[in-house]
Amino acid sequence: MIEIDALSKRFGKISALSEVSFRARDGRITGLLGPNGAGKSTCLRVLSTVLRPSKGTARLGGIDVVAEPLAVRGIIGTLPHGAGLYPHLTAVQNIRYFGQLCGVDRPTLSGRIDRLVQQLDLGDIANRKAKGFSQGERTKVALARALVHEPPHLLLDEPTSGLDVMAVRQLRRRLRELAGEGRCILISSHVMQEISALADDLVIIAQGRIAARGTPSELAARYGNRDLEEIFVSAVGGES
């Protein structure tokens, strides 16, 4: 469960987030949707405790990000934008490093890595250096890295950007399974179609503020439209 209440974040004079509040429930995929620069990444970074909020609170599993950042980091898996891997390490070494940092003990860790390699279909690249990986391969390894300590919360920043159709479908299936296991998944995107196929709940964010939120069908009812893309455009006040 992710609970965000009146969260604001300023960088000097620029207000990146103002008074943002929403919930992301366990066992569901919550989509954070908004145009570029809307504050999606800033919101995820506050939740992963990499940035401190200027005002307001954010709690994951009931733990406050400001009061106990280390405890929060123990129950989240993050896939930041760009999915940076260590190019000189193999896929398995990249995953294992994060498992060790998360305090997973050695026997458990190797079992989990084997399972992740299988689940995410990483067999071919498991022992290759990350240097030559395609964007899709990098994303899969980064996802495995985020899952290695089996966190109840997943924060994914634009996970499908740069992936081909097959890779996107595979990723969607995997995320569905993860939500089915009871995890709370928060996923950001600026692509409407992406989210409509995946999210149980939607939070539309524009210029650092919540523009609309609800399930896709609720939003469709409220805005009197069927098409989510239309809702998105009218909610963020674009295309005038």
Binding site: T49, R73, Y86, C102
Partner: protein, 395 residues
Amino acid sequence: MISAILTVCRKEILDNSRDRRTVLTAILLGPLLGPIILVMVINLTVSQARSSAERAIHVPIVGADHADNLVAFLASRGIRASQRHGLTSIDEAMNAVRNGDREAVVFIDASFGDELASGTRAHVGLVYDVSDSASSRRAGRIRGAVNAYSQQIGALRLLARGLDPSVVRPLVIDNFDVSTADERSSLLLGMLTYFLLFATLMGGIYLATDTTAGERERKSLEPLLATPVPRSSLLLGKMAATVVFMLLSLALTLACFMVALRFMPFEQLGMSTSFGPGTALFAFLVLTPFAPLGAALLTAVASFTKSYKEAQSYLGFVILVPTLPLIVASIMNVRPSLALMAVPSLSQHLLITNLIRGEPIEPLMLALSVASTLLLGALLAYAAIRLYERERILG
């Protein structure tokens, strides 16, 4: 916390040992550069010393036929008359030296034999160029030999008249050179600590950049910062890996110096070197506290910068900072004192120089050097952690 530091340290060592550029500078360039430069400088010194002392030189002697005995005496001093020099007059000789065709020419007049036989003063012309150091050095050697010959003849003449030759030489200078062979070599080996400090820093420069600015640019910093490990532990692990590479670079540099100095002709320079495994080990131990200081300095600067390129250009200057006290010290010619032991890099330089001179090391000085270096290192590490904990580290 310790295990997290070790995890980060191990990963950075593995990661960077696979980076060709890091390995090239830390393991190859740093350790080889110093010894190669030192060997070149020493060889140059040796060859210059030889040319002015022992090596036989060939000098054109115009009118050599007029002074067979003098020519034979000069030859016994390693100054040989060159054949077929083609010079016939003093003007030609002066032109040849002026043009640089000859370094020095000896000119003997046809009347030399008669003058010598009649007991009047015989003249020997010496043509040289004082503005040319090689010519000047050669002329000095010829002048010394001719003077020696002159004194020998004068002494014989006095003896023939029943006088003691010392009558005309009432004063004699006795030379006492108090420098020991070890001290003479320490002049040259003063450069050694400079190279050792430089190689130690070179060993860490890529790691310090790669683990901070490099990690941010590869976008792996954000997931790393989201792991349940305090940032201070992450950075301490990174600095520990940098220290490992720096010490590796230092150890290799010392090994290279040990091999290189073994083949140097120090005895010909009147020097002795005692740069064996024992000295190398002591130098390693004295310099060990400098590695964490250097790693903290490099990491602090790299954490402060906004990009990999910026970090590199700053670090190029930063590695010169620890060598500044050495330059000041060599200009001022300072001797070790307790106060100077509080200055990192200078204290290591003075201690190692002392060791090479063969002088004893005071335990108190050593302790002070270690303590002051580690203290400054800890302060810089704290500064680096504070810089790393800023939000702006993400860029």
